[in-house]
Amino acid sequence: MSMEALLRVENLHKYYREGPYVIHAVNGISFELFPGEAFGLVGESGCGKSTTARCILRLERITAGKIFFKNQEITALPPAKLRAWRRWMQMVFQDPNESLNPRFTVRAMLHEPLYLHGLYRREAQILEALLRVNLEKEHLNRYPHQLSGGQKQRVGIARAIMTNPEFVVLDEPTSSLDMSLRIHVLSLLHRLQREMNMAYIFISHDLSTVRHLCSRVLVMYLGRVVEMGRTEDVFNDPRHVYTQALLSAIPIPDPTVRRQRILLKGETPNARLLKPGCGLQDRCPFVRDDCRSPVPFIDLGNGHQVACVLANETPTISKKTGGT
């Protein structure tokens, strides 16, 4: 069963000018999002995942590339026309303390998307959304400063689902929450996705969370796609050195598991001094000459793509004992 891609991103580039420097935040990202799927966008800080998401939602001006929503190009739509499309793509922001307007009540925040897009049966819909995120009617008249962190984040989620969007971008939705709250919110997101058949673009640096929520994942480094594929493929059989290093660096709460850690030298280089070729060339323990020229994608089947010359050659370095 082939499905039409809901969202298609083609060769997205985003550069910032900072004084005399040009910061290459996003360098040629391409991917597709299918209806109803949870797609993870992972990477460490500075890799460009948040910027990519903001570009998709046109919160930033795109330097180059194209974005298609349901086969309609929205890259250069004028703001007035874009607004109509916004009801199908919503966003849940990272910091619940900053993404809610301190002067709005919960009711006002939930009412606004309905009002802006001319949707009716408002009171009923507001209540329904509230209950879906496990909040109560009494929260409607509260202001953000009267809510806890977890409640604020749930209001943000409720706001995003008000218009029944086709996909929701979630930017690190659980990063600022406590451990116990994190699980609440995650299972809530999981349930919502199935109930409302929404697609997610789930941005996170926390790979454990992504593994549990997403069916496909894209790993980013220095604004480029490093590896992409089904979650089980990327996590069980990572082929890019960076993915392997990333996964091997995550501490596992189980002393019986023995692993080999891949240590990358140094730190993530500045996004200002971008060299051609693989972004990892200065830190990779297996670097070769052809890593310095543009790296092609190697297709390993089942949608598993890797941007590494060693993808087929080196057996997976960090084979773990045990684990599923």
């Binding site: 919160l59 922001f93 910091d95 993404s99 307007n101 943000g156 706001r159």
Partner: protein, 302 residues
């Protein structure tokens, strides 16, 4: 700095009781907070008194502010003329009371109009930026090069000596303050996540600015408004003293002081002293309120 606080169980009960007592004395949290700033409360009380005087006005005195009375010239303060009389035999107290109405009105009108116009402009240019922003800010810079009073003088001379012109002149002199303040806040607020959220939900730009951002950008301007009210009084009085703007026989504090200025040497102190105190006290009170608001706001953020 880091004193080790060891408390024995018996002491805990006392400590607990003492803290509860302090908290329960002032039931309302707002009141409790306000009382932490006694100067602010003082300023508010003084302005309240002024407002009362302004509102009750004519009922406080049987005399007419402009009616001359040649027999009672330069009488010192007494039971009959509470603040004495001036060179035309008019009751100084009456003149001060009527002047209160005029001056307060000027202060409030100047403050609100410059606040409204300045904040709107500042919000707009802060949000949209571009060349309009640059042009407006250069104009603001030029206006800032002149002291507000000088500007007011220039505008009043150009427009003519009426109360309305005085209000316009002083408001125009202070509008740049609000433009700059609100623009600065708008630049800050524009980068907040809830601004992005407002856009992504589907708000058009103007609505993001007006409904979402501007209310959050007004706080420093509101504080400034009270200060400007105080300064407006000083400016209006100053202009009148110099013979610009409001002229005799209108009862205005500055006019009264200028009328009494000649009497400083001759000793009829009551003609200039009471209006003078009125000016100083009013400006002082507005200053206290403004500073107090600023302190309260800074505390809140912490």
């Amino acid at each position: 700095m880091f004193k080790l606080n060891i408390a024995r169980p018996e002491e805990l009960q006392d400590y607990s009781r003492r803290q509860s007592a302090v908290n329960s004395r002032f039931r309302s949290r707002g009141l409790r907070q306000a009382l932490r700033y006694p100067l602010f409360v003082l300023g508010v009380l003084i302005i309240a008194v002024y407002l009362l005087v302004a509102i009750l006005g004519p009922q406080l005195t049987p005399y007419n502010p402009t009616e001359t009375n040649p027999q009672s010239v330069f009488k010192p303060p007494s039971a009959e003329f509470r603040f004495g009389t001036d060179n035309f035999g008019r009751d100084v107290f009456t003149r001060v009371v009527y002047a209160t109405r005029l001056d307060l009105m000027i202060a409030l009108l100047v403050a609100t109009s410059s606040f409204l116009i300045g904040s709107l402009i500042g919000g707009l240019v802060g949000f949209y930026g571009g060349w309009v922003d640059s042009v407006v800010m250069r104009i603001v810079d030029v206006m800032f090069a002149f002291p507000a009073f000088i500007l007011a003088m220039a505008i009043t001379s150009a427009l003519g000596d009426t109360v309305q012109n005085v209000i316009v002149a002083i408001a125009a002199a202070y509008t740049p303050y609000f433009i700059r303040l609100t623009r600065g806040e708008m630049l800050k607020v524009r980068t907040q996540q809830y601004a992005d959220a407002a856009i992504s939900v589907g708000n058009p730009g103007w609505r993001v600015m007006l409904v979402h951002l501007l209310p959050n950008a007004l706080t420093p301007s509101l504080v400034q408004m009270t200060l400007v009210a105080g300064w407006a009084i000083l400016d209006a009085a100053g202009l009148a003293f110099l013979g610009l703007g409001i002229t005799p026989p209108t009862a205005e504090w500055g006019v009264l002081v200028s009328e009494g200025a000649q009497r400083i040497i001759t000793g009829e102190y009551w003609v200039w002293l009471f209006p003078g105190i009125a000016i100083v006290l009013a400006a002082f009170a507005f200053n206290l309120v403004g500073d107090g608001l600023r302190d309260i706001n800074t505390r809140e953020e912490q």
